[in-house]
Amino acid sequence: GAGVSQSPSNKVTEKGKDVELRCDPISGHTALYWYRQSLGQGLEFLIYFQGNSAPDKSGLPSDRFSAERTGGSVSTLTIQRTQQEDSAVYLCASSPWDGNQPQHFGDGTRLSIL
């Protein structure tokens, strides 16, 4: 499809395991964002990639969280040694390079830590 694609749609894992979440942005969009939505909360910014610039990691909650964007397209968000408070919906968004265009979101990955 033409939209932002995220996989898996659901992930259940045990506390302490590592997880990888994937995002395929809209073709041609140079900006890519990760957000998360915890239960009853708004969307919380995690990390931003723009072209070849250094990513803005200011929203990552701990050093257990990291993200990569390979070839300026697909991105993976990795959470190491998962904790129960990591349970949330992780949303990826992409946009053209400038801020005047709205971000388009995928349907998210619902992560549940047992």
């Binding site: 708004g42 803005d56 801020g99 971000q103 388009h104």
Partner: protein, 113 residues
């Protein structure tokens, strides 16, 4: 410190009437504002935006109003339809730098048939 606030967690409106969703912000540097609609198990869908140089933007049944002096924006939906039932998030951003969005906690709108 919540920079974008949606103080009404829920709102019920009769079909055909106006829905008004409100949003307040604290950072006077924000210069771009958006509304997103979210259905369960789906990602947020962009509805409408407004830059700080305007005080109103209209798109069909949806109108966003911005009051910079009050640091307040609102979304009007006229007429409301049952398909509008969803969670609505307002978001704010700076038109420079990272362009990351700061979201409110959402308002659940229920349009009654």
């Amino acid at each position: 410190d919540q920079q974008v606030k949606q103080n009404s967690p829920s709102l019920s409106v009769q079909e055909g009437r106006i829905s008004i969703l409100n949003c307040d912000y604290t950072n006077s540097m924000f210069d771009y504002f958006l509304w997103y609609k979210k259905y369960p198990a789906e990602g947020p869908t962009f509805l409408i935006s407004i830059s700080s140089i305007k005080d109103k933007n209209e798109d069909g049944r949806f109108t966003v109003f911005l009051n910079k002096s009050a640091k307040h924006l609102s979304l009007h939906i006229v007429p409301s339809q049952p398909g509008d039932s969803a969670v609505y998030f307002c978001a704010a951003s700076l038109l420079s730098g990272t362009y990351k969005y700061i979201f409110g906690t959402g308002t659940r709108l229920k349009v009654l048939a």
